[in-house]
Symmetry: C2
Subunit: 144 residues, 2 copies
């Protein structure tokens, strides 16, 4: 086995198999939040036998490992631009994802005071946030 395989690429200790890597690239390269079946369509260009579970499994892995965010308000997925900042330098930091219910645009914002307040609230509750993501829906500036 001296020939390097294409099926696995190590990125920061992660096990990016072919389908995980392909899903990551698809979401990362998209201009907008991607839904699972949008991703599936694209994925099938590369991996013809891909099925819904292929996508969901890859998404689970990528979300768990903080490479993607799941946006519950749209059942969609976006690339996490701030992987290192969110989880390496400031693991206590909370981001807010604002979703426009009109145009679907998603904006990610953080604010250190809010992170502190959230840290207080979760500490007081004994709640372990798994994502450090807060979601807020409404209408964005352009649409109002």
């Amino acid at each position: 086995m001296s020939v390097a395989t294409e099926t696995k690429v190590s990125l920061e200790g992660l096990n990016l198999t072919a389908s995980r890597r392909a899903v990551l690239d698809i979401v990362k390269g998209a201009k907008k939040p991607m839904k699972a079946y949008d991703i599936l369509s694209d994925l099938q260009q590369v991996i013809p036998h891909a099925k819904p579970p292929t996508v969901y499994r890859a998404l689970d892995y990528l979300v768990t490992n903080h490479l993607l965010h799941r946006v519950n308000a749209q059942n969609a997925f976006v690339y996490c631009q701030h992987h290192e900042k969110c989880f390496h330098d400031h693991p206590e930091r909370f981001n807010v994802i604002f979703t426009c219910i009109t145009c679907g645009a998603i904006t990610e914002q953080a604010h250190h005071v809010m992170s502190n307040v959230m840290a207080e609230m979760t500490k007081a509750m004994g709640f372990m946030s798994d994502s450090h993501i807060l979601e807020c829906t409404g209408v964005c500036k352009e649409c109002s």
Copy 2:
């Protein structure tokens, strides 16, 4: 038509038809977040011909009018305990719904500093929040 009909009840200017009222009562009376098809099952005890659109229409109305919250993290609905406080006395107030991904428990919390911070953030962005609800997922005290 001198006999009062049972089909409509006025509550704070709302038009609570029979099915809306029934759905409201079902969610209000439940001990846990209710999913649409859970609600449908219960609703069919009262309105046998109820179908999925019956439930979704009622839910749309009740969420729009702030009697229920939709919890995106679970595709579920909860009664808003603080209808007056949230939307009448303090329309600027943000609540955070914490969802435990292990047991499904939902807790609603507010914090005036966080509300102020969120108000600042949304104002700066020109974002009009439609729900004043932030969602946060993680593991609750009991489950950790």
